[in-house]
Amino acid sequence: MINVSKIKKGIVIDHIEANCGYKIFSQLGLDKLDDVVVLMRNVPSRKMGIKDLIKIETDIELDFTILGLIDPNVTINYVEDGILKKKEQLTLPKMIEGILECKNPVCITKHQKIDDIKFYLVNEKTKEYRCEYCDTKTSL
């Protein structure tokens, strides 16, 4: 078993569904951080069998909106002075901006440069969102 030491200040993204860790790592742009980041895959878990886990030793705040889309079951643990300060359970955001792209080829957003396109949650089960412009349903 590989041991990764505890972090002093930062974030632990726990209970990531096995094999989703790298997707989250990429979507959060963690490869661009100068801080220490550890991605652990296939970690034994009592609750999940196996899971992925990410530890980030950082001072900066990260936007976790996208995590709710990729894997709404993850837990975000905020650590300060080596102690767990806050646990956050993610949910699917009701509205997201600037993450999804509309899949409708005749949607105006595919033909004009539009910033911050809003997508509204229509189905929690299928994680489907509705484009604010053409109403087409889409998911990540």
């Binding site: 409708n104 005749v106 949607c107 105006i108 957003t109 033909h111 004009q112 440069k113 539009i114 484009c131 604010e132 412009y133 053409c134 109403d135 087409t136």
Partner: protein, 304 residues
């Protein structure tokens, strides 16, 4: 309060707000001369990025009959879009010149984009296969005029229920009124999509492929054309376009006070012999379209 608002989708207004628009339309129908100078010194921009006869003429006629003026284009090649200007820049510029703008565009969501940046009210005159709210207002006003109320009607919709944008909007709009029942009449290939049926209580609609069965029960028969552009196979189009044709023979089974509606243009789904039947109201429907657009313009400009 309507002043300064946009109309982008059919359910952009509440039922009570729609009633307010229809009452104004009633008044315009009764005494059109009273309104002939209401829009004096007002300018409407008519921005048609794709061809349209009925809708463009209807809006132009509505504004002119209110004493206003119309500027615009009906060919995008003559607009600055041809030079690569964004729609955002176009509408910001144009809305500095005019008091209200009407937009038709082949891409879905265009009217909404323009409304976000416009300084004046935007009316969506059709954004691709997405929304065409003033057609829905036209349909509701027509039903209300002939039937005196929008409640408790059995509405048979017939033809291309799968792709028909007008039908989808009408069903959603009429489902807001008490006691509405629908009969969806279509061949299997052109049935109404499930996402439209999701709006309805299952006890409020039935589906059939027999126009004969539906026509006996209907208070309103809404016919629609099968659109050639929706088909890859010419053979399939030819086969389905002749599936339902409303004839004098079929009309014998209809109630005396049933009305036949159609958003036009028709191809062959309503036989010409029906035109003289007093129950055929599709040409009057086009006229109601102009009246309801007059009422809408007055409301959005805050003149009534």
């Amino acid at each position: 309060m309507f002043k300064g608002r946009h109309l982008i989708e059919p359910d952009g207004f509440t039922v009570a707000e729609l009633e307010e628009i229809f009452r104004l339309a009633d008044s315009i129908i009764d005494t059109p001369d009273t309104y002939s100078e209401k829009c004096k010194n007002k300018l409407l921009a008519s921005l048609f990025y794709e061809p349209s006869t009925r809708t463009k003429f209807s809006f132009d006629a509505a504004m002119l009959r209110l004493g206003g003026q119309v500027i615009g284009f009906s060919d995008p090649n003559t607009s600055s879009a041809a030079k690569g200007e964004t729609l955002k820049d176009t509408i910001i510029t144009i809305s500095n010149y005019v008091d209200i703008a009407v937009v038709r565009h082949p891409l879905e969501g265009t009217a909404k984009l323009m409304a976000k940046h416009s300084l004046v009210p935007i009316i969506n005159a059709g954004d691709g296969g997405h929304q065409h709210p003033t057609q829905t207002l036209t349909d509701l006003l027509t039903i209300r005029y002939y039937k005196k109320t929008l409640n408790n009607h059995c509405i048979a919709v017939c033809g291309d229920l799968k792709f028909g944008r007008t039908i989808h909007s009408l069903v959603k709009a009429m489902s807001r009124y008490e006691g509405t029942k629908f009969i969806f009449v279509s061949p299997e290939e052109l049935q109404i999509p499930s996402y439209i049926k999701e709006y309805l209580d299952p006890s409020c609609y039935e589906e059939t492929n027999s126009l004969d069965d539906a026509i006996e029960k209907a208070d309103v028969l809404y016919m629609s054309r099968v659109q050639r552009e929706r088909f890859v196979s010419e053979y399939e189009y030819q086969r389905l376009k002749d599936y339902f044709i409303l004839t004098h023979e079929k009309m014998k089974k209809a109630k005396d006070d049933m009305i036949v509606m159609h958003p036009l243009p028709r191809i062959n789904e309503i036989s010409d012999e029906i035109d003289t039947d007093k129950r055929a109201v599709y040409f009057q429907q086009a006229k109601f379209g102009m009246y309801v657009r007059m009422a809408l313009i007055l409301k959005l400009l805050g003149l009534e």
